[in-house]
């Protein structure tokens, strides 16, 4: 009898937990369609105007509120974010996969050192890494800009790819690879025909994770972005610091949709494997 109540309480807690996780997000999405020009949280009418204003279309509502943040800046920030995310994803995936193959398919003395080295950037608080990179770049007169952001992101995204791919490698039976080698295939063919197809879901998963984290990174980018190379999260953070505007709702909703799409894509690839 008592246990039944306990179970019910647990279910209630679980549902409240999900509510706590999703309610804030839903509120933002719903109120991004609110046409109240002064108080964003008082529901007036349904409107698409905030979305239009992000894309540079001025409407009666947005003119009246005078909340005009330059669209060019926003578009520039999105563009910078995409350039950074794509370049870091490509670079960190290649390096991360190579390192994972080295560490999990070979025996060598420095193996524990490399495992430690690759886990370190993941547990390092991002403010520490951001500060360290800033001091480093300034000290060696490396100009802050897109290049410094890309380098900064790679320092920790290599680790994420490494961890995802090495989980795949560790769970994989290497007898197929040995069979391939025994049957006379050279290492390259073994890799291409046997190892690569098996770790491909891991590579795709790692790359997607790297892409999403790079798109989202705020703290490290905040310290090492130059004047002309603001990324989207840094741009929104700046907007938020200057005051809350209804357009941020719309931008936030679009970003939510984007992140959910990428995460679902990741899940799809994992399911297929």
């Amino acid at each position: 009898m008592k246990l039944k109540w306990l179970k019910r309480l647990l279910t209630l807690h679980g549902l409240l937990f999900l509510f706590f996780v999703y309610a804030p997000i839903i509120i933002v999405v719903v109120y991004s369609f609110n046409s109240h020009p002064v108080n964003m949280m008082v529901w007036k009418d349904f409107t698409f105007d905030w979305y239009l204003s992000i894309f540079g279309q001025s409407t009666k509502l947005t003119e009246q509120t005078l909340y005009v943040e330059s669209t060019d800046q926003l578009v520039g920030a999105v563009k910078n974010s995409l350039i950074v995310a794509v370049s870091t994803t490509i670079f960190s995936t290649i390096v991360g996969v190579a390192t994972a193959l080295a560490v999990y398919r070979h025996h060598f003395r420095l193996k524990p050192f490399y495992q430690g080295l690759l886990y370190m950037p993941m547990v390092m608080p991002d403010i520490v890494l951001g500060i360290a990179l800033l001091v480093f770049f300034v000290n060696f007169s490396i100009q802050l800009g897109m290049m410094s952001i890309i380098i900064g992101h790679c320092t920790f995204l290599i680790s994420y790819v490494f961890v995802v791919v090495s989980a795949r490698l560790a769970g994989m039976d290497d007898s197929l690879e040995q069979a391939s080698a025994d049957l006379g295939a050279n290492p390259w063919i073994t890799f291409r025909r046997v190892t690569f197809p098996q770790i491909l879901p891991g590579i795709v998963g790692g790359a997607l994770l790297a892409f999403i984290i790079s798109m989202d990174d705020l703290v490290i980018t905040y310290f090492i972005a130059g004047v002309d190379s603001t990324t989207l999260p840094v741009f929104i953070y700046g907007m938020l610091r200057r005051g809350v505007k209804p357009e941020i709702n719309a931008i936030a909703t679009l970003m939510l949709v984007f992140s959910f799409a990428i995460a679902s894509l990741g899940l799809y690839f994992r399911k297929r494997s």
């Binding site: 997000i25 390096v95 890494l129 001091v135 310290f223 936030a252």
Partner: protein, 294 residues
């Protein structure tokens, strides 16, 4: 010689990662540590002299003498530790029952619910915090709704308090606590729980004697994963805590972007890093080994 070839392959695979992380990860950390021992220049910048008082300044000891004792930095440091620790406790209390609930669901549902819980983790941090700014602000969702319902007559000032910081912090760190807890609870041998209750143990006894000890590694992992990013966080206190709830991360940011005392900022970062290392070493020594032994 296959051995030689294999060696060459290994070196080829390892070189890019070693060079990149050597220069751009270990390099910056070393430079930061060096900077934390340099003298701050008068107008920003650094003087290349050895200067150990950046660390003294944290405790109120600066420029070779005790300043009028005003441990403002030490206070901020301890507040950060307190907030980070409170956040660990809050997320643990929220996530533990939730993880038990999820692990008791049918398998089909379980994967789905875990996916749903981790999904917001992929949403931009700024966006997730923005949600809470909207809710907690004086004219925000919470106050408008409560006042609309007639439950309160004056808006509650919750934003720019420690409570707001704790809410935001717990919200963004939930997945870090949930996932390791869930992993360890799911691994738990159900037959042990049944045996315990069959032998007449009351539910709370089963929990304290069987479930809790078996899931301790998950709790420890979650605690470390939540504590470390909470300690150095500066975005949450900046957006939800304002000037009143400064944390060590805000202090570091100020030193670099407005006060321009880089060596002091570097010293503060080194402190955050040290706390991290101590926790990780402790974790690996205590929990990591027993985990491997299992």
């Amino acid at each position: 010689m296959p051995g030689k070839q294999e060696n060459r392959r290994l070196i080829a695979l390892l070189t890019p990662g070693s060079i990149f992380l050597g220069i751009f990860f270990l390099g910056p950390l070393s430079v930061m540590i060096v900077y934390s021992f340099l003298e701050p220049g008068l107008y920003g910048g650094v003087e290349w002299n050895f200067y150990h008082l950046n660390y003294g300044r944290i405790l109120g000891w600066a420029d070779g003498e005790w300043e009028e004792f005003d441990p403002v930095y030490a206070e901020i440091f301890f507040r950060s530790v307190r907030i980070a620790f409170t956040n660990v406790v809050i997320t643990l209390l929220i996530c533990y029952p939730a993880a038990i609930w999820v692990s008791g669901l049918a398998v089909r549902w379980r994967t789905f619910v875990v996916f749903i819980i981790t999904l917001p983790f992929f949403v931009s941090l700024v966006v997730r915090l923005f949600c809470w700014v909207l809710i907690l602000r004086p004219s925000g969702f919470m106050n408008t709704t409560l006042m609309g319902l007639g439950l309160i007559s004056e808006p509650i000032d919750i934003i720019y308090t420690e409570t707001a910081v704790l809410i935001g912090m717990a919200y963004i760190m939930l997945p870090f606590m949930f996932l390791p807890l869930y992993a360890s609870i799911e691994k738990l041998d159900r037959s042990l729980v049944e045996a315990s209750s069959d032998l007449g143990a009351k539910p709370y006894q089963t929990f304290l004697r069987v479930i809790l000890p078996a899931t301790l590694p998950g709790i420890a992992a979650g605690a470390v994963l939540v504590f470390i990013p909470s300690l150095g966080n500066f975005v949450v206190p900046d957006l939800l805590g304002g000037a009143k709830v400064l944390m060590i991360g805000n202090l570091v940011e100020q030193q670099f972007l407005s006060a321009r005392n880089w060596p002091f900022g570097a010293a503060l970062s080194v402190m955050i890093m040290l706390v991290m290392f101590i926790l990780i070493i402790f974790y690996v020594r205590r929990i990591g080994r027993s985990e491997i032994a299992r």
